[in-house]
Symmetry: C2
Subunit: 123 residues, 2 copies
DNA sequence: ACAATAGGGGAGTAATTTATCCCTATATGA
DNA sequence: TCATATAGGGATAAATTACTCCCCTATTGT
């Protein structure tokens, strides 16, 4: 397991939210859990670009940060369900704001993001 | 210069905003530019934990993504001023929402973030 | 006997991001 | 003559994140 070597700055609110949301799939995981996709296999099907291994690691971090809860049913084959904690639920409107800004500026953003790639392949 | 090998997914608004805000110092740079700290040396003084080199690279990406504008004065010693574009300005309320969530949950967040570090050093 | 299902984990590696070190240039002031 | 301020960049190292491969558990169904 990887062990961090640098201790993060936690001087302001932006540092704090950054620390818990930074992670390629975390926002999406929170979103889908909020929409009712609770089981790891369901989340995996919603996010096929990520491996199960990686989703699992990010879910673990979300759990450690107390944004989600994990319920393990003692059955075979195993059954697990995630749900948002109180803290996690308060993050949903924040994620909405992010998504809305992206949606509102979709064309412009897609254009500027992709133009950097075109410039690179040009030489 | 590093050249990306994987093309990002840009399927929804969350992908798009993630692409332009992902970067350790970017949100802070936007925030301080909005507060009126326009020159590279001023920004460097506001963010002493980052090297000038790194800030410069992130400023360049913000500029490529058309969130900020760069004005170069042809004087010696050189003078440069950054300012938010129209698109960049619309991001300020979004960043506010992020910061407020962090501020509102400051104690809780600090606690869960740091407890992971304590657990690690425990063995 | 064997595959399928559901969740998980170790080891190793690839991709990416961030940091460090050391240069460039020019004018001003001591 | 030498340090300072100002903005920047190349090369490389370090840190971090994400991925791939292969393994384990136990039960149900074929």
């Amino acid at each position: 397991m990887y062990e961090r070597k640098m201790i993060p700055n936690l001087t302001c609110g932006l540092d704090l939210i950054g620390e818990v949301l930074y992670g390629k799939w975390k926002i999406r995981l929170l979103w889908f859990i909020n929409e009712g996709y609770k089981r790891p296999s369901e989340l995996q099907r919603k996010i096929p670009d990520a491996s199960g291994r990686v989703l699992n690691m990010q879910l673990k971090e979300l759990e450690d940060h107390e944004l989600i809860m994990k319920k393990i049913y003692p059955v075979v084959p195993p059954k697990v369900e995630y749900s948002l904690t109180g803290l996690g639920k308060t993050l949903i409107p924040v994620i909405s704001v992010l998504g809305e800004w992206g949606d509102n500026n979709e064309e412009k953003l897609r254009s500027v993001i992709l133009s950097r790639f075109n410039d690179l392949s040009g030489h």
